[in-house]
């Protein structure tokens, strides 16, 4: 049984769900708040568990960046497993390779058992015989998560105990095909032509879900699809976590209904701390958007139509004092170094555009730089084993548009802003 206060809080519009106060990281505090952990019966081999129905009805979409329908993905894994006669694997993605995102760490720190409930639900639904939770080396949540997992193991609540996997903290290791390799002890770099839901860890169909998605699933199984849809937009229902950074008074992770305006999200983070000239949206593989983006509503399609990217929920306010081109140069340089170096266009292309941006930001562009840069930005995408280069190109291209006035200044050798 849960408290009457919980019942009203979890149903209150505009309130927290994932980040509900008092959740606590222990199994006991979790069960006191959210009610006892369900012992989900594992689906029979070759079948999809009936817990999939509320997930499909809820319209939940993946919060790792792709916003793919969570129910559809689970069904694809279960069907692929049936066709191949192999037991599937569930991999919870808590890697958070995007440097500007902290939502997964905050969630795992505050409510690890919500994520672990979601893993148990997903495992039962697809009939998985192995489950993993992947975090990166040096993750601040290691101790909390390891404790939560051993608590559940000792209490015997999960038919398939979760194994904690710690992988190197590189950007591309979060990518699905990289992650399923990392889980099986191989180098976590993207693979080409192998789709995890068909051939993932140990050659088995693998369900890779972001930890926030799994936490939502745990709440949907408790409160139902209608409850979930009571918050957020019709096309991307529910609440979602956003890491708000840059020129705001209280940088951090907020939970908002999808469809909330960007300006409201900024005020949830204490409001702007200085004049904002632009936003970095979606992280280092996302896009810059101009100041008018403040009016946009936070859902994947609505943000995209306003020139931004929701991705894994990153929103950074760029102050008027910062040089957008210098910021871009630093990001592209960092992202180029994060390339796994497997694919030519990424390995050589990203460092080439990093150099272009470095020269541009320093006011040392040659007369052909802009044409060359545009041509490179056109040539690189769609040619890698993963979307890492595509994301960097999108970010770089958006910088040339959003900071167009600065580009003009820099081509004449001037910059009247300083770096943040």
């Amino acid at each position: 049984m849960t408290s009457p206060q919980y019942a009203s809080e979890i149903r209150a519009p505009g309130k927290h769900r994932l980040l509900l106060a008092g959740s606590g990281s222990s199994l006991r505090s979790h069960e006191v708040l959210h009610g006892p952990v369900t012992r989900y019966p594992t689906a029979r081999r070759g079948h999809v568990g009936h817990f999939i129905a509320p997930i499909e009805d809820s319209g939940l979409r993946g919060r790792g960046g792709g916003w793919f329908a969570a129910g559809t993905k689970m069904r694809a894994v279960a069907e692929s497993a049936a066709a191949r006669r192999k037991a599937p694997v569930v991999v919870a993605n808590g890697m958070e390779g995007e440097p500007r995102s902290h939502k997964d760490a905050v969630l795992l720190q505050r409510s690890p058992h919500l994520v672990l409930d979601g893993i148990a639900l997903a495992a039962a639904t697809v009939g998985a015989t192995a489950t993993y939770l992947a975090i990166h080396e040096g993750s601040p949540v290691y101790r909390t998560v390891a404790t939560a997992i051993s608590e559940r193991r000792n209490a015997g609540v999960d038919p398939v105990p979760v194994e904690l996997v710690v992988l190197p903290p590189r950007y591309v290791a979060s990518q699905e095909s990289a992650l399923v390799q990392g889980v099986m002890g191989q180098v976590a770099i993207p693979a080409w032509g192998k789709r995890p839901f068909e051939q993932g860890s140990f050659g088995r169909p693998s369900l890779v879900q972001n930890v926030e998605t799994l936490a939502h699933m745990a709440l949907i199984s408790r409160h139902g699809a209608d409850w979930f849809r009571a918050a957020g937009t019709r096309d991307a229902p529910g609440t979602t976590l956003v890491t708000v950074g840059g020129a705001v008074q209280a940088p951090g992770v907020v939970e908002v209904d999808t469809g909330t305006t960007v300006s409201e999200i900024v005020s949830r983070a204490g409001g702007a701390s200085s004049r904002v000239q632009a936003f970095l949206t979606g992280g280092y593989g996302g896009a810059f958007a101009s100041a008018s983006f403040a009016d946009a509503r936070w859902s994947p399609e609505l943000v995209a139509s306003a020139g931004g990217v929701v991705g894994a929920g990153v929103l950074v306010a760029i102050p008027a004092s910062a040089c957008g081109l210098l910021e871009t140069s630093q990001i592209v340089t960092w992202m180029a170094a994060e390339s796994a170096g497997q694919c030519g266009p990424c390995r050589f292309g990203l460092s080439a555009i990093a150099t272009d941006f470095e020269l541009l930001a320093a006011g040392q562009a040659d007369p052909h730089l802009i044409d060359r840069l545009h041509s490179r930005l056109g040539v690189i995408p769609g040619r890698g084993a993963c979307r890492h280069p595509d994301g960097v190109v999108r970010l770089a291209a958006s910088a040339l548009t959003v900071f167009a006035a600065d580009v003009g200044m820099h081509l004449r050798g001037h910059c009247n802003r300083s770096a943040t």
Binding site: P190, W192, C343, P345, F348, V379, P381, G382, R383
Partner: protein, 69 residues
């Protein structure tokens, strides 16, 4: 018939472009661009008329990164 290149295996030798320039362009670093699709340029449909050239290119790839199926 479809031609694909595994970009993780391709080393940019450029032999494929020499043999089927109709289907494969090279970028400034010598790596192949297949077709003109926007989101996926690691695969391209092979017209029947140049199927023989395409197969020859696949078998000539020093890394066996190019496949025709």
């Amino acid at each position: 018939m479809k031609m694909t290149v595994d970009p993780t295996v391709c080393a940019g030798n450029g032999v494929c472009h020499e043999l089927v320039p109709e289907l494969i362009a090279l970028d400034e670093w010598g790596f192949p661009i297949l077709g003109t699709g926007a989101s996926d340029r690691t695969a391209v449909e092979v017209p029947r008329a140049i199927a023989t050239h395409a197969k020859r290119a696949a078998s000539a790839c020093p890394k066996l990164a190019l496949k025709v199926k």
